[in-house]
Symmetry: C2
Subunit: 382 residues, 2 copies
């Protein structure tokens, strides 16, 4: 397989874009990525999206966006893996270029979530879980994560306030990201006093939904003249049981462990070599579990990294440097592509106040459902 | 890229499977394909499905089926391109094996359509069309095809009864396919007297929905010992505008033309070399347009092939040899995989009364929406 590189990136602000349709936000991100790449066409398009059939009455987003962007006649499909759809689309685009099937590909993650009532979106998000054995019992997607968080606190003796650093760090970093959904500092006191959603998950533990789109242009690495060159050092995917209750250990993200382990091997790195890690902090508990599954902390110890101030841009492993899902926002099917865009920004040195100094290797990990589909990508500046 | 082959096939009957869930029918097809291939695991799984989020409340079918089939920890995603989802999943599986990323892959097309009321399914199917500019006007998916058929009849002077041979041929062939949804002969009289759905499309012009799943196991061609060996000679995809009204010529399937042209070049064949063609006869008008776009008839002349008796198993180009979408049934996201399974059956010589004698090259063409996403595959017996 050929080595691939990211030639261009584009993103819209994550927001309530009531004045823009799905095609408009997806098109905007795609055009920005192509403009950044300096190309006016690509050979193929891969779209990451989870909810459009339910929220916008629109399926077949491959042809839909090809048409809108003006990539007529080219190949295009949609890839869906719940909240992991974005990275799954990115991986499909990578594969097409790596295999030599196409010379360039565009991966677009796009999601419109605010055009429907909140309860409809909550129901749509629940399709990420097991319809027969989880959702049928009346549990929502946040409810499933709440059960996991409660058990984690019980097993390892953490208090709710111990999770505050994840939220505080994400919000602090988002202050410097113009594309972030929330520009609002969070204090330990505000974290503890926020409205409860599903005990023990409160508003400051949970990432906000939003409308957003992000895009990247992928080409063979040997064709890139632009400096610095950002290459794809590893791409790996793994799955776990779809329902949390089917797992031997509901507190360990086995698919995250497997896909990151494989990615480390492919890239020839260890966790110590990573300068930045855009992880999937859909809920604060997921940030802790992600750090444990990827080898940055022992089991039950993810929370400690936050408490010891190791997750900030000058910490041992900077996470959510552009705000993460918590503050940049979580337009579900687009999130995985936002993460890739943000790692590229770090490796290019474009992050201003939240720039990780000398960042040369970065990882993005996108998770579908409560850990059922996990995709890990490692990018490197060359 | 490596040459790939189909090692195993499996399918369920297309039917109203009210006693079986989506996971059960998909699992059944997957197990049958693995059993037929003589393997008890594969490296990756690609699922084709269009409607499960809306009909079954279930997304993330990659992890969902990996879990159910027991392919834990492996890579798996869902690919969606409306009614072209099945072949799109097959193509993703091909790419993964061809690129050398995996040594074996399973493509499963699965769709559950009969658990909801007909009008809900009609609304869900409309997500294949342009939500903003087609569906907003109140037109259903069959309505869009009816407009195309009416225009075609006007342009080329055909009468409704001239389309009867497509339906008669499909139903006659399905009599010999135990997996077909309908086992019921159609006469010219019955064709003309059927209930009108959307003028001029009546019940005998339209393919029936149904629950169904089909699966294939793909491996590198060099690893196949089984005889006859069925190899993938070509795989090509193209898109067109999502809305019919945006096309220069709404009566020409340009994406079908482009993807079949590319497939012919890849396989080194011409239409004359094909022994069997499983085309996408969602409506009788689509059968005519497909024959024209792929080079079997001049524009406006597709209908003549039926009238001249050239589409039967002993005709110039046998189509829908196992019943086609019209009589085998059209479980939308699964259909593209059924077509592949059926071409394999022809190349293996397993089709009994509808066997095309000495079939050695076969083509399957799967269409998403009203011609927006088209995937063409050519298989060859070696």
């Amino acid at each position: 397989m050929r080595k691939t590189a990211i030639l261009g990136i584009g993103q819209t602000k994550v927001d309530e874009h009531w004045d823009k349709s799905l095609r408009e936000i997806g098109g905007e991100a795609a055009f920005l990525a192509m403009q950044d790449a300096g190309v006016d066409r690509v050979d193929a398009l891969y779209v990451g999206n989870m909810l459009s059939s339910m929220v916008s009455g629109q399926n077949q987003l491959g042809a839909f966006f090809s048409d809108w962007i003006g990539l007529w006649q080219r190949e295009s499909v949609k890839i869906e893996a719940a909240c992991g759809s974005g990275a799954a689309a990115f991986r499909s685009a990578l594969m097409a270029v790596a295999a030599g099937d196409v010379e360039s590909a565009l991966a677009v993650g796009a999601e419109k979530m605010t055009d429907k009532a909140g309860r409809d979106v909550t129901a749509a998000l629940a399709t990420a879980a097991d319809a027969d054995y989880e959702v049928e019992q009346g549990v929502s997607f946040v409810g499933i994560n709440a059960l996991v968080m409660r058990r984690y606190m019980h097993e390892f003796g953490w208090k709710h306030e111990d999770f505050a650093p994840f939220s505080i760090n994400a919000h602090a970093n988002a202050m410097h990201n113009p594309f972030a959904r929330l520009h609002e500092k969070v204090s330990a006191e505000k974290f503890e006093k926020s409205s409860m959603i599903a005990t023990p998950i409160n508003l400051m533990d949970a990432s906000p939904v939003g409308d957003g789109a992000a895009a990247v242009v992928i080409v063979p690495a040997e064709k890139v003249l632009r400096q610095p060159k950002v290459v794809v050092a590893a791409s790996a995917a793994a799955t776990d049981t779809i329902a949390v209750h089917s797992r031997k250990n509901p507190l360990f993200l086995n698919a995250a462990y497997l896909s990151s382990k494989r990615a480390y091997t492919m890239a020839g790195v260890t966790p110590d070599d990573l300068d930045v890690f855009e992880l999937h902090d859909a809920f604060s508990i997921m940030a802790a579990l992600s750090l444990e599954a990827t080898g940055f902390a022992e089991r039950g110890g993810g929370v400690r990294l936050g408490l010891e101030n190791q997750i900030g841009v000058r910490g041992k492993i900077p996470i959510c440097t552009r705000g993460g899902l918590k503050a940049r926002g979580h337009p579900v099917g687009a999130t995985g592509v936002y993460q890739i865009v943000e790692v590229v920004q770090q490796l290019r040195g474009e992050c201003g106040a939240t720039q990780v100094e000398g960042a040369s290797v970065g990882m993005a990990q996108n998770i579908g459902g409560s850990g059922a589909t996990v995709l890990t990508h490692i990018l490197r500046r060359e």
